[in-house]
């Protein structure tokens, strides 16, 4: 089966998922991101790498934060950015996803940054472009359903590498709503590819996907047991609509059992870092004291996120 995100020479054609992405490409993205972090510290924060390129932010699902980071990344590379909030425009009028894509192709798009509520939607777009012979157009998955959020996974790997160095000696815990999390899936795939020997997921059975252990993780339900001696804690966001109902009784109970507090954090290694993809629910999945504490690297994640997205965009466009 043709790998839809690689070109015929094995190079990166689209970034759709970290699942099955060759280790060399993954590391190359992280390596390429490093110099971009310095751009942000300059007075003129712009590079001419994507001058004249048109990048369409296609958000079929609302997200101000992710869209903004992609927009900043593209603008720092001198690209022209068009933001399309598709959830409120053409699809509401009955236009199909691929009709929208064809229209934008006719406007000479060079790159699509796509967020969609349905898992696999960017794959459909990539296949359509392939069938149309449009290998000049690239797709970046900015989050599809529960499936993948590869740039988030990459920025998390960048953060871990920044603070911890060698992946092959680490113990990493991912905590919370893994079931609905595209972030968790991308993190797990990247950690496995980078050779992290101990990857744990911690949460109630209602929020862990069936047979998740087959992705290469150990399953824990007890927070203290799961956090014992880990080097990295990756918290996940719990969506409001999942807090009361058949998956969880109340946010209070979730906080009591799986919320990251200073007391639970003590089970991890003393130099463990705490990560969160944002936006945080303070007092639900994480205590403010931890979120703002010395071990938290949540804001650096955001900064690295822009550099990683610049790296991905420049690699795809080159």
């Amino acid at each position: 089966m043709r790998n839809p995100q690689l070109d015929k020479n094995g190079g990166l054609q689209h970034l759709l998922t970290l699942d099955g992405l060759p280790r060399e490409i993954l590391v190359e993205i992280l390596d390429n991101a490093a110099p971009f972090t310095e751009v942000a510290e300059r007075e003129v924060k712009k590079l001419p790498l994507l001058r004249g390129k048109s990048i369409f932010n296609l958000f079929f699902e609302n997200s101000t934060r992710t869209r903004t980071t992609f927009e900043i990344a593209a603008k720092r590379l001198s690209a022209d950015v068009v933001n399309l909030n598709v959830s409120t425009s053409s699809t509401a009028k009955g236009e199909s996803l691929l009709d929208t894509i064809d229209n934008l192709c006719a406007m000479q798009a060079d790159m699509f940054v796509v967020r969609h509520a349905a898992s696999g939607a960017p794959f459909l777009i990539a296949r359509h472009l392939y069938e149309q012979g449009r290998d000049d157009i690239h797709v970046i998955n900015a989050g599809d359903g529960r499936h993948a959020h590869p740039t988030q996974g990459l920025l998390d790997m960048y953060t871990i590498r920044h603070y911890k160095g060698d992946f092959t000696k680490l113990s990493v815990a991912i905590v919370g709503d893994v079931l609905h999390s595209r972030v968790a899936r991308s993190q797990i795939c990247a950690l496995v590819t980078l050779g992290v020997p101990e990857i744990r997921v911690i949460g109630p059975k209602t929020l862990l996907p069936t047979e998740i252990e087959k992705m290469g993780v150990r399953v824990f339900h007890d927070m203290r047991e799961g956090l014992r001696d880990v080097d990295v804690i990756m918290m996940l966001r719990l969506q409001n609509e999942r807090m009361n109902g058949a998956l969880l009784p109340t946010p209070q109970e979730f906080y009591k059992v799986w919320g990251l507090t200073g007391e639970k954090l003590e089970y991890a290694r003393p130099d463990a870092i705490v990560m969160h993809p944002g936006p945080m629910n303070r007092g639900v999945e994480i205590d403010s004291a931890v979120a703002d504490g010395a071990q938290a690297v949540i804001l650096p994640q955001v900064t690295f996120g822009i550099a990683v997205r610049m790296a991905v965009m420049s690699m795809l466009a080159s």
């Binding site: 898992s119 459909l124 599809d144 899936r185």
Partner: protein, 428 residues
Amino acid sequence: MKIKISNGRVIDPANASDSVQDLFVADGKIAAIGQVPADFTPERTIDAHGLIVCPGLIDLAARLREPGFEYRATLESEMDAAMAGGVTSLAIPPDTDPPLDEPGLVEMLCHRAKKLNRAHVYPVGALTIGLKGERLSEMAELVDSGCVAFSQSNVPVVDNAVLMRALQYAATFDFRVWLQPLAPFLSRGGFAHDGEVASRLGLPGIPTAAETVALYTYLQLAKVTGARLHITRLSSAEGLGLIEQARSEGMDITCDVSINHLHLCDRDIGYFDANCHLVPPLRSERDRDALRRGLIDGRINALCSDHTPVDDDGKLAPFSESEPGATGLELLLPLTLKWARESGLELVQALARVTSDPARIVGIRKAGHLAPGARADLCLFDPEEVHRISRTGLRSQGKNTPFLGLEMPGRVRYTLVEGQVMFGDSVQ
């Protein structure tokens, strides 16, 4: 018209016979096999040397999409597909729009089909009005109009009290009820088998419990009501286990599986191939292997196409937003042969699952076998000829199948319905 079909390898699964013979057709019926009948002068002779001559296939689920979904397929296009696939009898699920819940609709469908004069149709009436699971349909009237059984297709009855009453009412007349085991709430919002693949792809899952919980319910209700139950489209090893258990307790119950579930599993979804979006979902490799074994030894009684033509737009959407289903009429025979070959099964046994066995489930006596006097519904095919499944090759208006691009054994050369050649080469 008198036809002599000479030198074919005549396989009649109903009689477990398999030998090279001449077969004689007269007045739409099989006149004789082997010995030429007295005063028989063929008006046409078909040279069947190298071909297999078997009863026309009987498909337990062929959606012709009329009424209501003519943009996806029409009676004409799908009857053509049936003829090209050697399928001469079709049970039609009630999930048309409006559903087959009214005698007039069923009569109209039968009338239209009869006018086309190709495959025989056997409508399966809606068990409840509009398939809504609230009010019983006029079952006695529907049977008078031509319905052979009642079902909910894949729209489960939510209220078990209604289901129990529907089974009781059907049992009053000893009508057959065909139910697909799909528990409504457990399957709601899911699109793929709840297992490793769905977890990895982030597709909301349908647990195996959606099948087993429904089966427990159906089996219990069939037991207390005495309804004649046929279970459609099994998908799991556990589901098959429950049916075996019910049989060991003395229940008379039949079941079928689709060609898709016989050959594919959740891994075939690959990178979100919407052609693998099916109801019930493709389950694990272990489930598929259990279904294959079950069909070999007859614990699963029949193989069907679960023919569901979908237009291209219906499939050009993200997996969870695409229309479920796969076209299948032209794949039923090739996939039966492929399964037989891979399982080391004799053709006479394999073909029983698509001829004599489904005939018993539908209640067809005049076809599905080759005894003299039977309807001359015949399929003549070359078992050795390999062909590739392609969009252009498929006559069905639906080009949606996970098997596109694959090579398949078995090419239908002639299809006869009531002694008339409805598909095949020019007269010899």
